[in-house]
Each structure stands twice: as structure tokens, then as C-alpha cells.
């Protein structure tokens, strides 16, 4: 059989720079599985692209309708929460296709009516807010300014953080949105600087407004200490700012262990940046769809949707990135597996990643991990 999976990602539009590495992840998984020849008696897997544009729900839906017509058996995506919800409600549910999003993190997706078809390999932002609050408190910082990218991700994260932080006795001097892709962030930085605080929490995207805000804050001397959540933590951040982040820190979902490192290395060999945000999650999403198919012995979404939770969680043999062939073999043999993958997948509740976060610092212009939460 020739199995097609859709990669519904924003190849054009506001987050177009993240999409290629995410696609790379999904394709890597597909290639690994195809090459192994172990899936459902030697089926091959092909990834078809569907441009979700990240922001235009209608275009995302139309594009997805099209690939559904091509007979896809599962969807890796969508990318941004808004467009993901639209695709889920308008395409995936009506057509009964499984959808695993690597990056849609809005808490709203936890409660959505999904007929058991929707999963995600990233945790809900509700959790990260709490983790971030703990980290900041533990460093003895009592007041912060907060800026977030103005979408459901940024807003949700900012709100959950503010609630957690204030409950723990901290002060948020200002909670201001910034829009991505704007020409200039002077006004935002001026406002943040005027409000003051011991640190600035930048709940944004590293190659979007988040970096712009950080840059301008450093240049004008508005803040010296920054707190970065997942949208910001990446090699690009270190490249951009180097030693200027000596006192800054942050956290992002990333499990302990060699899974992630393996993945990054493999990705580099395959010619893309595996440490780019949500690239690993995309790999895991694709891998999980394929493993679930194997577990169900069928590529029919109605059959394999119930297997996703099984292969993702304990009990079973741990499967790391690069070991998909082994996983398929085990499943074919009827052995239970526990897919760990590049992001230490552990699905909880309605099928979303439980979320292990690593705490990082940037001494001497290098990213270094100081602990896990």
C-alpha cells in the first residue's frame, strides 16, 4: 500500500520560516518507516504538503480538503491553534481522519469535540505558565514585565503565567501584547521599559516579534534579564544575542535524555535543523500515526485512532527516534511499545503531551540546560 499523510503546515504566511524544519521532521519519520519496509507488509509512506498559511482558516480548510481528496490517511498538523481548530472541525472530524498537531498549544484544544481524532505532541500552554512561574520565583525575582505575541498561544500562555505568578505573590507590572511581523517595536519596548520590573518575560516567537522586542530592550537598556518560554528557546536565540543573555533564562518542552539529541543529529544529517521549534514534535506526530497504524494493522483512521494512546504511553518497550523500524517490528510481533521519540512523548488527558520542560540558561553565550520540571 502507498500511504499518504498530509503535512498541514504554514508554508507561506506569518510563520513560514518554521514550517520547512517541521516538514523535515515529518518527512524524516516517513522515510525511516518506508526504508524499514516494516509497516503493514512493506507499505510506503508519502508526505503531501498542505499549506495552512497559519493564519487563514479558510485557506487551510480548502487546502486540506484537497489533500483529503487525494486519499490521505492521517494529518500531521495544523500548525497554529486557530487554523488547527478550523481544520479539525471542518475537515478531520467530518471525514473521520486522525490529526496529530505538533505545535498547536492552545488550551482550547484540550476540550474540543474531536470524536477521538485529535492528538498533539506538544503540551497545553496552561501547564507551561505554571512551570515558568515556579522557575522565576525560585530565582528570587518578584516583579516582571510581560509581553506576549498576540495570538491564542501567546495570550493563553501569558494569562496562565500571570495567574500562577500572581498567586505565588509575584507582580506583573504590565501585560502587553505585541503583534508579529510588525515593522517596528519601539512603542512596545517604551511601554515595557516605563512599566519596569526585574525581568522581562517574552512569550513570543524567536524569529518574529519576540526577537525584535528583546533586541530593542537590550539596545535601549530597558531590561537585562529575560525569561524565554518555548517559542523563543532555540539556537537562533543564542546566535542572535550571544553573550548579551548572560543573566537570562527560560524553559521549553523537551524531555531529558538522548532522544532529542539523537533526533537533532539525524536531522542535521538529513539536511535540516532539528532543534528548530516544533520540528521534533512534527517527527513524533508522524511517527505516532504510523506506529498506531501498525498497531491496528490497518491504515484506516477509524481503526487506528484508538491505538494512538496505547503506543504513546506505558507500558511497553521504549522507542527512541531513529528506532521506528524496531517499533514497527515489535508491534507486528504483537509486543506493546511506549513511544518516547524526540520529545519524550507521554500523552495525557484528551491526548496531548504531558509536558516535561527543561530549564535553560545562557552563560558565555551558550545554551545550557540546568534542570528539568
Amino acid at each position: 500500500e502507498d500511504i499518504k499523510l498530509a503535512a498541514s503546515l504554514g508554508f507561506t504566511g506569518a510563520l513560514e520560516s518554521l514550517a520547512p524544519d517541521m516538514l523535515g521532521g515529518a518527512e524524516l519519520a516517513a522515510k525511516e518507516v518506508t526504508d524499514s519496509g516494516n509497516l503493514l507488509d512493506g507499505s510506503t509512506v508519502e508526505i503531501v504538503q498542505s499549506d495552512s498559511t497559519c493564519t487563514d482558516a479558510a485557506a487551510a480548510v480548502s487546502a486540506l480538503e484537497r489533500v483529503v481528496a487525494e486519499g490521505i490517511k492521517g494529518i500531521v498538523g495544523g500548525m497554529c491553534s486557530g487554523e488547527t481548530i478550523a481544520s479539525l472541525e471542518n475537515v478531520a472530524v467530518p471525514n473521520g481522519i486522525v490529526m496529530i498537531s505538533p505545535s498547536a498549544t492552545s488550551p482550547a484544544l484540550s476540550t474540543i469535540e474531536d470524536q477521538g481524532l485529535f492528538f498533539r505532541t506538544s503540551p497545553s500552554d496552561a501547564r507551561q505558565g505554571e512551570v515558568m512561574s515556579d522557575i522565576i520565583k525560585s530565582r528570587g525575582i518578584e516583579s516582571v514585565a510581560l509581553t506576549y505575541t498576540n495570538n491564542d498561544y501567546g495570550k493563553g500562555l501569558a494569562d496562565s503565567f500571570q495567574a500562577a505568578y500572581e498567586a505565588a505573590g509575584g507582580t506583573v507590572t504590565i501585560n502587553a501584547a505585541h503583534d508579529d511581523g510588525k515593522a517596528d517595536y519601539s512603542a512596545e519596548v517604551a511601554a515595557l521599559a516605563a512599566a519596569g520590573g526585574d525581568a522581562l518575560v517574552v512569550a513570543g516567537y524567536v524569529d518574529q516579534g519576540g526577537s525584535g522586542i528583546t533586541r530593542a530592550s537590550l539596545d535601549t537598556g530597558a531590561f537585562e534579564t529575560f525569561v524565554f518560554p518555548d517559542g523563543m528557546i532555540s539556537q537562533a536565540l543564542v546566535d542572535n544575542f550571544g553573550t548579551e543573555l548572560a543573566t537570562s533564562f527560560g524553559q521549553n518542552p523537551a524531555a531529558e535524555g538522548e532522544g532529542r539529541d539523537n533526533y537533532i543529529a539525524t536531522a542535521e544529517a538529513a539536511g535540516f535543523d532539528g532543534s528548530s521549534a516544533f520540528s521534533a514534535e512534527a517527527y513524533d506526530a508522524a511517527a505516532m500515526i504510523l506506529l498506531a497504524m501498525q498497531a491496528a494493522g490497518s491504515s484506516d483512521p477509524a481503526a487506528y485512532k484508538d491505538k494512538v494512546m496505547e503506543i504513546a504511553n506505558e507500558p511497553g518497550e521504549k522507542i527512541m527516534p531513529g528506532e521506528l523500524a524496531k517499533g514497527l517490528e515489535l508491534l507486528a510481533a504483537g509486543t506493546d511499545i511506549d513511544y518516547v521519540g524526540a520529545t519524550a512523548v507521554e500523552l495525557v488527558g484528551p491526548g496531548e503531551s504531558a509536558g516535561v520542560y527543561r530549564e535553560v540558561e545562557f552563560p558565555e553565550g551558550e545554551l545550557s540546560v540546568v534542570g528539568f520540571h
Partner: protein, 335 residues
């Protein structure tokens, strides 16, 4: 002392950033206005052509850097700029030749030209991405600061710091030079006068022996230079990202309209009006008030509106400006 602190805070967070941004917008608006005045349509491809010119400049800059050539404290991109301008001019002339000239000869309604420019916008958009990709690119090198916050604090003994980046200083200087050169060109040289004459009355310019196609070519070349310079300065100061150059189109048009379309002086003023209204209106005055009235302890941030509305507010300002100056800031004289 406190008054000085207040002043420095204002300069650092409002004045210098807004002036830089305003200068970048002004250059963009100048190009828009020039094309509007002479070719008679609003060029929607402006932002994406800026991106294209910048992309060429960046690639050349990389080449120079890899050869070890640099400009000392100034960004190497300045050396690459002429190449960028030449490349952009070539591309723009090619589009004129293949797209706009047809409609000019047909005397098509100008809205058609506007829509054709939307088509060109899509093309440029795609080509830029093919050329340099979608990622963010930083290409500023050389010294980062003329004055930085820490040095300023030490030197002045104030609590507030003041920073002036090389790129900011560069932007302001370049804008002054470019604007002066443009005005000198338009008002003093024969070719400049031919351009103004053509803009004023096409047929009569023809009857005076002006070659209209030469004027058109000249306009595109100057516009290409303005676009590339604006794009590179903007990219140096912020960073290069193809998508942002589409986003900057809106404020550029706003600036050009407020200034009175077709009017170069207006374009410059418009750029600064837009920039300052964006930054100043949403500024929380708490800190400055704190310096000026140390005893007053307001509970809010003294922010008129939150920054989410900065763009919206700047439009309201623009409408108010227009209500008091119904023909734009500088009407009458045009390109």
C-alpha cells in the same frame, strides 16, 4: 537632575527610536510618492521590491565579508548598496518593460496599473523568497553603538541611560543626505526638471522635447535607489525578514497619504508623523511623571491606550491631521 533623567528617558525610548523609524518610513513614502507623481499610480509592489533590493544587498554583503572586506565601524552593507541598487534598478526596469509599459501605451485606466502592481508584488514576493529564503537575516556588522547605555550612565551620572546605535545614526544621516540629493536633483538639474514637467503635464513635456520613456526609466531608477536604501537601512536597524517588508507597506502608504500624495516634502513629514504617533501615544508616562513629580503616586501606568492599539491610534491621529490640513501636510507643489 530629575528633569534631565526624564528628558533622557524620553529621548531614549521615544525620540530616537521614533525618529529612526520615521526616517525609514519617510524614505519608503518618498519612493511611493515619486511613482505616484510621475507614473500616476500607487505602487503596491513597493514593500516587496524593497525586500528584493535588500536581499541582493545582503548577498553581496556576505560575499564581501567572506572576502574579508569591511568598512571598519560602519556596516559592510554600505559597500554592497550600489550593487543592490543596480540590481534592483535592473529588475524594476525589466518589470516596467514587460508589465507597465503595455498599459502606458494603451492609456489604460490607472486602477489597472495598481492591480498590475499587485501582480508584481506577488512575483517579487516569491522571487525574494527564492533568492534568500524566508528566514530572518542579520547582516549588520561594524560597531553596534555610537553611545551605549552603560557608557552614557557612567559619563553622565544619571540613572537613565541613553543609547544611540550606529544604524540609527546612519539612518538619520543617510536620510538627510538622500533627501537633500533628491531635492537638488529635482529642482536643479535638467533631468529633474524634465521629471517634474512630465508629472505636471505629460503631453506638454512631450511637446517640449522631453523623451517620456527616459523620464519613466529615470523615475524607476531613482525609485529603485530609494527602495533599496530604505530597505537596507531598515534591515540593518531591525533585521531582514521578507514578510516584514510586506507589512511595512501599510504605514508607508499612510505616511505618503498624510503628507499629501505626490509631494516629496509631505512624504518625509508623513513618515515622521506616523512614527511619532505610533510611539508617543501609547507611551506610559508613569516613569517620566515619576521624575517630574516625585510625590505623585498614580496607580495606573498613565498610558492613554495600550500598545495593541498603537496602529489604530496612529490612524486616528492621521485622520485628525487630515481634518485640520485637508490637503495633506504639504499640498500644492508636487513632484
Amino acid at each position: 537632575m530629575d528633569i534631565l533623567n526624564a528628558l533622557v528617558a524620553f529621548l531614549n525610548f521615544v525620540f530616537i527610536p521614533a525618529a529612526t523609524y520615521g526616517a525609514q518610513l519617510a524614505l519608503g513614502a518618498l519612493g511611493v510618492t515619486l511613482i505616484y507623481g510621475i507614473l500616476r499610480f500607487s505602487n503596491f509592489a513597493h514593500g516587496d521590491t524593497m525586500a528584493f533590493g535588500t536581499a541582493i544587498t545582503i548577498i553581496v554583503t556576505w560575499g564581501l565579508q567572506s572576502l574579508g572586506i569591511s568598512l571598519g565601524p560602519l556596516p559592510t552593507a554600505l559597500l554592497a548598496l550600489p550593487v543592490g541598487i543596480a540590481g534592483t534598478a535592473a529588475v524594476v526596469l525589466l518589470t516596467d518593460r514587460t508589465v507597465y509599459r503595455f498599459y502606458r501605451a494603451q492609456r489604460a485606466a490607472p486602477i489597472i496599473l495598481v492591480m498590475a502592481s499587485v501582480g508584481v508584488m506577488f512575483l517579487m514576493n516569491g522571487f525574494t523568497r527564492l533568492l534568500i529564503g524566508v528566514d530572518e537575516q542579520r547582516f549588520a556588522d561594524g560597531a553596534r553603538f555610537v553611545i551605549n547605555v552603560r557608557d552614557f550612565r557612567e559619563w553622565s551620572g544619571l540613572t537613565e541611560g541613553l543609547a544611540l546605535k550606529t544604524t540609527q545614526a546612519l539612518t538619520l544621516v543617510v536620510v538627510v543626505v538622500v533627501v537633500w540629493a533628491l531635492f537638488w536633483f529635482l529642482n536643479r538639474t535638467k533631468s529633474g526638471k524634465a521629471m517634474r514637467a512630465y508629472s505636471d503635464n505629460e503631453d506638454l513635456a512631450l511637446l517640449s522635447g522631453v523623451d517620456p520613456e527616459r523620464v519613466v526609466r529615470l523615475t524607476w531608477i531613482i525609485a529603485a535607489a530609494l527602495m533599496t536604501i530604505a530597505g537596507v537601512l531598515y534591515g540593518l536597524d531591525k533585521s531582514f525578514k521578507a514578510f516584514n517588508y510586506f507589512q511595512i507597506l501599510l504605514p508607508i502608504f499612510a505616511a505618503a497619504i498624510v503628507g499629501g500624495l505626490g509631494n516629496p516634502l509631505g512624504a518625509i513629514a508623513g513618515g515622521f508623523v506616523v512614527a511619532f504617533s505610533e510611539v508617543a501615544i501609547t507611551y506610559p508616562w508613569l516613569k517620566i511623571a515619576g521624575y517630574l513629580f516625585p510625590d505623585w503616586q498614580p496607580d495606573g501606568l498613565l498610558q492613554l491606550l495600550s500598545t495593541e492599539y498603537k496602529f489604530a491610534v496612529s490612524f486616528v491621529i492621521l485622520i485628525i491631521v487630515l481634518l485640520f490640513k485637508p490637503t495633506g501636510l504639504f499640498s500644492g507643489k508636487s513632484v
